[in-house]
């Protein structure tokens, strides 16, 4: 299973789902529902956090958070 945290820069992918965690409802409410198109735009120095385009806006998240998001 591929995670958003492993997605290379500027490669588009689709959200499959979010792993069970306390953050699941929050991530969903930020628009990361299944089928949503995402793309990693740029990374902070040291590669963490990352800025992700969530078709419509840019969301920055830690790698630990991006690791909860399954993509294809």
């Amino acid at each position: 299973m591929k995670k958003l945290a492993q997605l290379p820069l500027h490669q588009k992918a689709r959200v499959l789902g979010i792993s069970e965690s306390e953050l699941k409802p929050k991530l969903l409410e930020m628009g990361l529902y299944p089928g949503k198109e995402v793309e990693v735009l740029f990374k902070a120095p040291f590669g963490d956090p990352i800025a992700v385009d969530i078709s419509g806006y840019t969301l920055s998240m830690r790698l630990s958070e991006a690791n909860l998001i399954e993509v294809e």
Binding site: E22, L23, K24, P25, K26, L27, L28, E29, M30, G31, Y33, L41, F42, A44, P45, F46, D48, P49, A51, I54, G56, Y57, T58, L59, S60, M61, R62, E65
Partner: protein
């Protein structure tokens, strides 16, 4: 009074709209049980008084942090004092899909709801076209208004709707899931997005546009090397501005209050009441006002960084560095601001959504050496550190000053790490931060931000500062029995009353009076406790009085050693201090006792204004008391170890 609630996602221009609608008729109060402030604004629309409540920006009505709970608490309880009659939901027109989630949640509960399409200018620039008819079809009971809060379009239409009588709608509290029913909330959100996707496909069409300005700028501003460099340069500019520009109004306030006090002293009859006004109340008010230039300037610049969208980038590039210490990227600006003054620094922690991370930042912020420590540092360094060159080019005095600042920063991070270990149940540390597009600041918002921060400080923290000032005045002005007058009377007035001789005489009287006041007795009383640190009771008195503010230490020493005109030339005081001998004939101010005092001032919470602000921000006396306690212990141990090492 009619209550209308203002909801919306963060970064939708909700606050701009709130400012546009209410101007300066704003009031900051409390929501019961939470630390988040309640921002209300008052409008009078065709004779009707309306209270507009600006709720914190959230992505959903379900709380994901402690501060967000207030939205759920209010709308889930029709009996709540803040339960609104109508609701305005502000949406970012460039991102309707995500914004509509919150809107549908509120709309479905049966509120009279206005759907405010804000930032329409940005949307059309980015090629979005929004068809109101499709939105009206989906939400027939909603009032749909296009606004541009920047220039004020659509406001009169919104105001007219606010003043209208509410239309009866069926209230449907049952659409609300329980606060802890996460599964239910997830299922509900998924259903809503399925529905919203269909609406958006009807309501929004987008023409392709070129890569925008923001993404080009981000290549530089989050660059691994340039990103930090640009941030450091910006910080330097901010600090330089705060230091240099703030010092002028601060001097005027200082001069103004002391002139007012001495003028009142000459026209009012001598007595306790006059002394209360002249030595207690006016310096107390001066002690509040003196912080305004720093607070105003710092928030002016921080508001610009926030408004332009740069602040989100600072948080982005510093987050990783702060995480090991239980802090996050949002702690960086408050902590760095504390190098100018901990008060605006602590007030700037509002943006930290995690309560544990915010509290940690507040608790360690005063460890960062602020500008008020500088007079103490420079006096003591000049006193005990020789001015010589070490390692070929470094001045030893400058090196010690640098080491003191470094000690403050390192201890702040270490204490933050220790505090992190204390939290038993770790609050979820969420980063998830929207990166807003870069924009030019809205000056109205910047102005209101500065005004609000100054107002909160003066009216909320100011009361506490004034009260403590009066207590300190009373302790220094009264003594047991008539000791003060008795001992002061023993000093002979000069026979030839030259100006110089009179000034000498007056400073001797002031010195003796302070020695025999309650404060003087307290200084002597604590002498056994501070003796291991290398201090005598005279330093004890100065430590106690400088609880008002650190720089008071210098003035107190001057009073005790009956040195006048210390402001213009500290040399006289330094010479006098150098000449002080202990009972055994050794000098009082040695390298060991001087360094010990310096370390004490790095750690000790010697600032009642900071205390008052921590009380204001945490809404409890618990945290300021803990803070005074732990910083006091650090100061004592640090000073003790330093004294032992260097004696």
């Amino acid at each position: 009074m009619k209550k209308i609630a203002l909801f919306g996602n963060p970064n939708t221009g909700k606050s701009s709209l709130f400012n546009r609608l209410t101007g300066l008729r704003q009031h900051v109060g409390n929501f019961p049980g939470v630390t988040v402030d309640k921002h209300s604004g008052f409008l009078n629309i065709s004779g009707k008084e309306i209270e507009l409540i600006d709720f914190p920006g959230t992505y959903s009505i379900y709380p994901r942090s402690k501060d967000e709970e207030v939205v759920y608490n209010v709308i889930s309880n029709p009996k709540d004092a803040n339960f609104p009659e109508k609701a305005i939901v502000v949406l970012d027109s460039t991102n309707l899909e995500r914004n509509l989630l919150l809107f549908t949640q509120i709309y479905d509960m049966g509120f009279n709801t206005a759907l405010v399409l804000n930032m329409t200018d940005v949307a059309s620039r980015n090629g979005f076209e929004i068809h109101i008819s499709a939105l009206l079809e989906a939400f027939p009971d909603a009032k749909i208004i296009r606004t541009n809060a920047r220039i004020g379009t659509g406001l009169s239409e919104l105001k007219a709707w606010m003043a209208e009588e509410s239309v009866p709608r069926e209230t449907r509290q049952q659409t609300l899931k329980a606060k802890n029913d996460l599964e239910g909330q997830i299922a509900d959100t998924n259903t809503r997005f399925d529905h919203i996707k269909k609406i958006v496909s009807q309501a929004v069409s987008k023409k392709p546009t070129e890569a925008n300005f923001s993404s080009k700028l981000d290549k530089w501003l989050v660059h691994p090397v340039l990103g930090y460099l640009i941030f450091l340069v910006l910080l330097l500019v901010i600090f330089q501005t705060v230091f240099t520009l703030a010092s002028y109004p601060m001097d005027w306030i200082d001069l103004g209050t002391s002139s007012l006090a001495s003028w009142l002293g000459t026209i009012m009859p001598e007595g306790v009441f006059t002394s209360l006004i002249v030595d207690g109340v006016i310096p107390g008010i001066g002690g509040v006002l003196i912080f305004i230039p720093q607070i105003a300037l710092l928030f002016f610049m921080l508001a610009i960084l926030e408004e332009t969208g740069y602040m989100a980038r600072v948080v982005f590039i510093t987050d990783k560095l702060m995480r090991p210490f239980g802090l996050n990227g949002k702690s960086v600006v408050p902590l760095l601001s504390s190098a100018a003054c901990a008060i605006p620094g602590i007030m700037a922690t509002r943006t930290i959504s995690s309560w544990q991370e915010r509290l940690t930042t507040i608790l360690v912020a005063p460890l960062i050496s602020c500008s008020a420590r500088l007079p103490v540092y420079t006096l003591l360094i000049a006193l005990v550190i020789p001015s010589k060159i070490v390692l070929g080019f470094l001045n030893l005095q400058g090196l010690v000053l640098f080491a003191l600042y470094l000690l403050g920063i390192i201890s702040a991070l270490l204490v933050a790490w220790v505090i992190k270990q204390f939290f038993k149940k770790k609050e979820l540390s969420v980063f998830l931060l929207e990166m807003p597009a870069y924009k030019t600041p809205r000056w109205g918002n910047v102005g209101i931000e500065v005004f609000e921060k100054v107002k909160i400080f003066v009216f909320d923290a100011g009361k506490i500062i004034l009260a403590i000032s009066i207590i300190l005045w009373a302790l220094a002005s009264f003594g047991p029995g008539n000791d003060m007058e008795h001992y002061a009377g023993k000093i002979q007035a000069p026979k030839v009353q030259t100006e110089e001789a009179m000034a000498d005489y007056e400073s001797q009287v002031a010195s003796v009076k302070l020695e025999h006041s309650y404060m003087g007795h307290m200084g002597k009383f604590i002498e056994p406790v501070i003796k291991p640190l290398g201090y005598d009771w005279k330093m004890g008195i100065s430590l106690l009085t400088s609880f008002a503010a650190r720089e008071v230490f210098v003035g107190s020493l001057a009073t005790i050693y009956s040195v006048h005109e210390v402001d213009d030339d500290p040399k006289q005081l330094i010479d006098k201090l150098k000449a002080q001998k202990r009972d055994d004939g050794t000098p009082t101010y040695t390298l060991a006792s001087g360094l010990s005092l310096l370390v004490f001032y790095v750690f000790a919470m010697q600032c009642m204004a900071t205390l008052a602000v921590v009380k204001r921000e945490t809404k409890s006396w618990k945290w300021p008391i803990i803070q005074v306690g732990y910083m006091g212990v650090l100061a004592y141990l640090g000073a003790y170890i330093t004294f032992i090492l260097f004696s």
